[in-house]
Symmetry: C2
Subunit: 369 residues, 2 copies
DNA sequence: GCAAAAGTGTTTCCCCTACACCCATGG
DNA sequence: CCATGGGTGTAGGGGAAACACTTTTGC
């Protein structure tokens, strides 16, 4: 209720941030940068305000920056910043707005900054490398980014969580998951995408620290040479050479090698396999009904990831996928029956949404038996 | 890809807009203002850019304005603007962010304006009256606002539609609808809230013009004295006196008088009843399966609004509502069996969401019969 | 008695889950 | 032959929609 005469509008900065999510080797990864300078902008645990503190080597930020000229739309700015800071190139239509973040204390540097966050979800981001304003740029496992001691600057932590929820929504109601499949894909390929994205480790309330710890423990057990402090557990699990070698044998863009096994087991691959086993095991733990006492939200996460039923469900959705008669492909692990190939349908919306916890999954009658 | 040296950040304005939605007499209404000045900012049908054109008496805008001082958060600004322009008072926690609207051409006036839109959904807004910057402020039927010849300035049209979708989501997953019920309410009361909010007339693709036309036709048939041009079809359907009189007889805040009938039929009430019959009929039309050929998105809107099953569903959701043993209340229309009273439960999230089109409602076997 | 609304009971349908089982492949 | 993953078949449990019917009120 100030005097309404000629309001003294404060100096505003409008920024954009991009949560670039992708899936590598069955793990959800996000593009992060390490900003230049000696100070990081970290949220004060008590008070909630962001303060400048001495920069640590494990401080990260999402790529982003200011809208820079008059005629630049918000999405355009987001694309540009992503490109500049990480060399990742996306089209404006690939960005989905998450929302505006405008808390007063969210940027201690100068004036007042409102940031519009976008999410990009794509399998074929270029390998990031640092550009302007960033000393470093790379993809990191999401659980790793969110776990101690790593820190995300500003309110990027919240943005990341919001982005994941948004992508989950998109995966329920749009064929966005097909971006992670080749033109011809198997139902197993498709299912993997959903399994990763809906993994309980990425739930808002997930204990990412525990996850990350277990992953780290696996890593140290393998006494892999790259064990520095805690960063980069998996993004460097492969040396460049063996990575390329692996890529050759993978039918899909960076797709799995399955949840277990693998043809040529290097030591690094061995670590990887164990980590993935952990995730898989954790997924089961989180979705199984153990004690009939508490059916928390987590429990509802029980998804139709039973291979058989997932397939039926996906095929049932009109315009989602269509089978390619006669064409099959050997499963990625090399074993098993060759799978039927599909291609994407014409639908832009998935009408019966693919994944809905439609009932509060009863503890199953099996308890009686 | 401009030179990245010292980016010339443009002059940005940060604004907020509020979509204040409420339900009056079974119709969804939104708070709009008429700005002062001789020019309206209307989107050019061809080109999509907003231009200043001579103001017409049927031009409206959502309440909103600039964030005015350094320490003012976005929600605070939204609250303040709503209060200033419409005298409606809301608490920050009642506002839900819809998103940021930052298209380049969205405000032709000065510099570049990014607006953060919020939605408020509450039954007990004060009666709005114009404040600063607004020559007029009132609640209007949503269908009326969206229909010719009325115009919403800037991109407020889109904001309104987005707001409605957001509220629908909230009604599925949170007990927000209970805000429209008294502390003690019947399942019929609750059901009405859902029926209004999910009415096909408010679907993004709805033919609001047709709706508004039919409502207007009803109005002119009744040769009600208030028939001006097209504005205020229903918001003035009651004279102040009979309005107060009606309020007395209504058990809930501005709740219905049922979808038909009414104890004391004044002429205005007669019009109203007819209009509501139209809406009801339209709802049925839109949700019935007519030709088994096209099962459009509209068709999926078929909701569980069958009274009996809605009640069962609501009672099933844990923590949503709890019955008050022994207490009943006469239905608002005065007729019918007195209904069981309920009070709100402790749940903040509705766990099996109340309304989900879980199957692509088959054309019903009835075709065969 | 009749209309209107609430509430209860019941039937039918079919979705979804789970499980069993077969298939095809590499090793 | 076994392990592995793909795929089909199917039984049963259960939710929900639809419908029938009763109850209680005002007129």
């Amino acid at each position: 209720m100030e005097p309404t005469t000629q309001p003294k509008v404060p100096e505003f900065h409008v920024a954009v941030d991009v949560v670039a999510l992708t899936i590598k080797r069955n793990l959800l990864q996000v593009a992060v940068v390490q900003r230049k300078g000696t100070q990081s902008c970290i949220r004060d645990p008590k008070g909630g305000v962001v303060r400048e503190v001495p920069r640590e080597p494990f401080d990260y930020a999402l790529p982003g920056g200011h809208v820079e000229w008059q005629g630049e739309s918000l999405v355009e700015a987001a694309c540009r910043e992503l490109l500049e800071e990480t060399s990742i190139e996306v089209k404006p239509e690939d960005l989905v707005q998450i929302g505006a973040y405008g808390d007063v204390g969210r940027d201690p540097r100068s004036g007042r900054t409102v940031s519009i966050a976008y999410v990009a979800f794509s399998p074929d981001f270029a390998s990031p490398f640092a550009g302007s304003d960033a000393a470093n740029a790379k993809f990191m496992d999401v659980v790793e980014v969110l776990a101690d001691p790593n820190r995300l600057e500003f309110d990027h932590n919240q943005m990341l969580r919001d982005a994941i929820s948004r992508v989950r929504e998109l995966m329920e109601r749009t064929p966005i998951a097909l971006k992670f499949c080749d033109e011809e894909f198997t139902l197993g390929d498709l299912r993997h995408v959903y399994e990763v994205m809906f993994h309980p480790a990425y739930n808002p309330d997930a204990d990412t620290l525990r996850f990350a710890d277990r992953i780290r423990r696996e890593e140290s057990k393998s006494d892999s040479s790259i064990a520095e402090r805690q960063i980069h557990v998996l993004s460097k699990a492969f040396s460049e050479s063996s990575k390329n070698e692996l890529m050759m044998t993978m039918p899909m863009n960076d797709m799995p090698m399955g949840l277990s096994s693998g043809r040529k087991m290097t030591r690094d691959q061995d670590v990887l396999a164990k980590v993935q086993k952990l995730l898989e095991e954790e997924y089961r733990r989180a979705s199984r009904v153990s004690t009939p006492g508490e059916k928390s939200a987590r429990e509802k996460m029980k998804l139709s990831f039973d291979a058989a039923n997932f397939a039926r469900k996906a095929e049932l959705i009109e315009g989602f996928i269509e089978r390619i008669p006669g064409r099959t492909r050997q499963s990625s692990s090399g074993t098993g029956k060759p799978a039927q190939l599909y291609r994407r349908g014409r639908a832009e919306k998935l009408d019966p949404p693919l994944i809905i916890p439609r009932r509060a999954t009863k503890p199953a009658k099996r308890t009686a038996k």
